[in-house]
């Protein structure tokens, strides 16, 4: 009994360290967002007085185009891009990991090549292409590049995981009388889940945080996402940094990430404890 309590205490301490390391700078951002212009640079970690002006400013429905509309854009574009990238990536990774066909190596090489080319010089040609086919400043105009640049990572990560799955289990399940669907759903899917959800988290974060494409391929709030919208925040004049409102926006846009991760990290655990392997 005491042993388990000790163990729990020990782990609790370690957890606390991790949380502090991860969240200390985040708390600093929260603190900056709650400071008014007078106390912004007083160097205090915890604000002496709490000022919610910044939050009120960006969440004001009258300022819809300032932050709320970009937030909606971000959520929609990131979710759609993640869904499609994971689906396409899973299909390709399955083929790469399990099937043999000519051109496999070439495909992997090409996707790696795309991941490696500096994006800054791809932006202008992309801008011209999108302008001429009418995708500029639209949701698909951002979704397509996001999928493109998320796919290499997705394919690589997923195929690395798929390689580790013992596929004979599927045959074993079928021999035990399961239909192909049951075999897939009950045996293979849980083993594939950790990899798929890991990839989903990484792709989502990539789309959510991207700045370069967001600022170059959008021009109005119709499709501008939050990271780009941050550079349109203004202080009271040309040179004043809108630190407070930028930090408030940062705090708010971290919340969906937290939710997304909270949701998916339980799926990863569920996948691991499905227990198909241990039998």
């Amino acid at each position: 009994m005491a042993d388990t309590t000790n163990k729990k205490f020990g782990w609790g301490l370690v957890n606390a360290l991790v949380v502090v390391y991860a969240l200390f700078p985040v708390l600093w951002i929260v603190s900056l967002s709650l400071k008014g212009p007078e106390t912004l640079s007083d160097g205090n970690f915890i604000p002496r007085e709490f000022n919610t002006d910044n939050y009120q400013l960006i969440l004001d429905p009258d300022n819809f185009g300032l932050f709320l509309r970009p937030l909606i854009n971000s959520i929609g574009i990131a979710l759609i891009s993640t869904a499609i990238a994971v689906v396409l990536g899973t299909m390709a990774a399955y083929a790469i990991a399990r099937l043999s066909f000519p051109g496999k190596g070439l495909l992997v090489g090409i996707s790696l090549l795309i991941a490696m080319f500096p994006q800054v010089s791809l932006v202008s040609p992309l801008f011209e292409i999108e302008r001429s086919i009418g995708l500029f400043d639209t949701w698909p105009g951002l979704i397509l590049p996001y999928i493109t640049f998320a796919l290499p990572l997705a394919i690589y990560t997923l195929s690395a995981f798929f390689r580790e799955i013992p596929w004979e289990l599927e045959k074993a399940a079928k021999m035990d009388g399961a239909t192909p669907t049951q075999a897939f759903a009950k045996v293979i899917a849980p083993l594939a889940a950790p990899g798929v959800f890991t990839t989903a988290i990484l792709v989502f974060i990539f789309c959510w945080n991207d700045f370069l494409f967001a600022i170059s391929l959008t021009s109005t709030e119709a499709s501008r996402t939050v990271p780009a919208a941050l550079s349109f925040f203004t202080g009271a004049s040309q040179f004043e940094d809108p630190t407070g409102s930028v930090c408030a926006a940062a705090v708010i846009i971290t919340i969906p990430i937290v939710l997304f991760v909270l949701f998916f990290q339980r799926r990863i655990v569920a996948g691991l404890t499905a227990g198909a392997v241990k039998g």
Partner: protein, 421 residues
């Protein structure tokens, strides 16, 4: 093998459906464009407080001939330039009137991106406009933009610590040292980070020392004795012990905040700090004076924005009209009072309401009449990058050697040769 195929097809079908939905979206997005008969003039301007009111005023004045639609550009000047250049290089006809920083005129004109102002429009743009800003809108003796607002730096100082403001840099350093000896706040704030702000300061010093950096046609790097003298002054200041320890990382707002928090006794900064400091620290006692120069008050570098009309604009006549309205005397007065941007038309300085919002307007006007412009060349961005790199950090300047290095690298930059740092 066959048994497992059906399961694979399900995600495949979903992907197709999603893809189709995505491709249909732009068709829907295209609806609602400006094809409802009215002429639209697209204004691309930096985010300026209350500019929407000015736009509304001009739409009223247009009385239906056209409507100005205001699209915001990013806050940072580099971001604004990036957005506009990308479109102009692609010959985008979506932009009609654009806000150009004063240093971009030569570049945009040489690249063929903006239209020349001629005839009546030119006359109206020049009428009553101060010389300095007008010079910044000119390239090869042709007018390419209408000055909207301007900006000059001032010396701000703690009136409770300093009685008479210094007039030269030497006096400034002496005054600061005196304060230092009596254990009071003494630091002098200057924007010395490796960026455009440093170029502004150095340009002021060079002009004040009677020097030149670049020839008038923008093709040759000069960097004469006056420029060397300016380097000496800058180095002196940086190593004098009264400059901030963060000098080589300080930008405008960093300096303003430090002064506001009573860590500094002097700062060299734009007029925006007046309203900002009043909001941030209402009890602070401060005053302003002319920027100190080398042998007397300085020839200060001009900042500000000009309005230009894009080469690819669909409705040029209306665009020129709209631009002239946005920067006319009444709207400049409104912007000065409500957005904190100094006017370019001289008569506005005496207009109603200017004295409460702009108590420093007389000093600003004085400086504007004796101002300096940054090197006028299409390769200004290159030149600015080189200058700020070579001069950083200010403490390591060796006047002769730095000047030689500057001359050589500046020439490469003007010829667009070599690599930018």
């Amino acid at each position: 093998m066959r048994a497992t195929l059906p399961d694979r097809r399900r995600p495949h079908r979903m992907a197709i459906a999603l893809g189709a939905a995505l491709l249909a979206a732009p068709v829907l997005a295209a609806c609602g464009s400006d094809d409802d008969g009215k002429t639209i003039v697209n204004l691309y301007y930096a985010p300026e407080d209350k500019l929407e009111d000015v736009v509304a005023n001009c739409n009223e004045a247009a009385a239906g001939r056209y409507e100005i639609v205001y699209t915001k550009l990013p806050r940072e000047a580099d971001g604004q330039r990036e957005q506009m250049v990308r479109r102009l290089a692609a010959e985008d006809s979506d932009m009609d009137v654009m806000s150009l920083d004063v240093t971009w005129t030569a570049e945009f004109a040489e690249a063929g991106w903006i239209q020349e102002w001629t005839g009546d429009a030119k006359a109206e743009a020049e009428d009553g406009t101060l010389e300095g800003p007008l010079a910044s809108a000119t390239w090869e003796d042709k007018l390419y933009a209408a000055p909207k607002n301007t900006n000059v730096q001032l010396l701000w100082y703690r009136s409770d610590l300093v009685d008479t403001p210094p007039e030269t840099f030497d006096e400034l350093i002496d005054a600061a040292n005196e304060l230092k000896d009596s254990d009071q706040p003494y630091v002098v704030g200057m924007t010395g980070a490796q960026y455009e702000g440093l170029v502004v300061q150095y340009n002021t010093l060079t002009a004040s020392a009677g020097g030149t950096l670049v020839s008038e046609d923008g093709k040759t790097a000069v960097v004469d004795d006056g420029a060397v003298r300016a380097l000496e002054v800058l180095k002196n200041f940086a190593t004098s012990g009264v400059a901030s320890t963060s000098l080589s990382n300080a930008k405008e707002d960093d300096v303003r905040l430090a002064f506001q928090n009573e860590q500094m006794a002097f700062q060299l900064n734009w007029p925006y700090v007046y309203a900002a400091m009043q909001a941030g620290n209402p009890d602070l006692e401060f005053d302003w004076a002319r920027y100190p120069g080398v042998d007397g008050p300085a020839k200060v570098t001009i900042g500000g924005f000009n309005l230009a009309v894009s080469k690819y604009a669909k409705h040029s006549a209306e665009a020129f009209d709209a631009a002239l309205c946005l920067r006319n005397a009444e709207n400049q007065r409104y912007s000065a009072i409500n957005s904190g941007v100094p006017p370019t038309i001289e008569s506005v300085y005496d207009a109603e309401g200017m004295d409460e919002a702009y108590p420093m307007r007389d000093t600003i006007l004085e400086e504007l009449k004796d101002a300096a412009v940054r090197p006028v060349t299409p390769a200004y961005q290159n030149a600015s990058t080189i200058i700020s790199t070579v001069l950083s950090p200010p403490q390591s300047i060796d006047p002769r050697k730095t000047a030689d290095r500057l001359r050589k690298e500046l020439q490469d930059a003007l010829d667009s040769k070599g690599v930018l740092p």
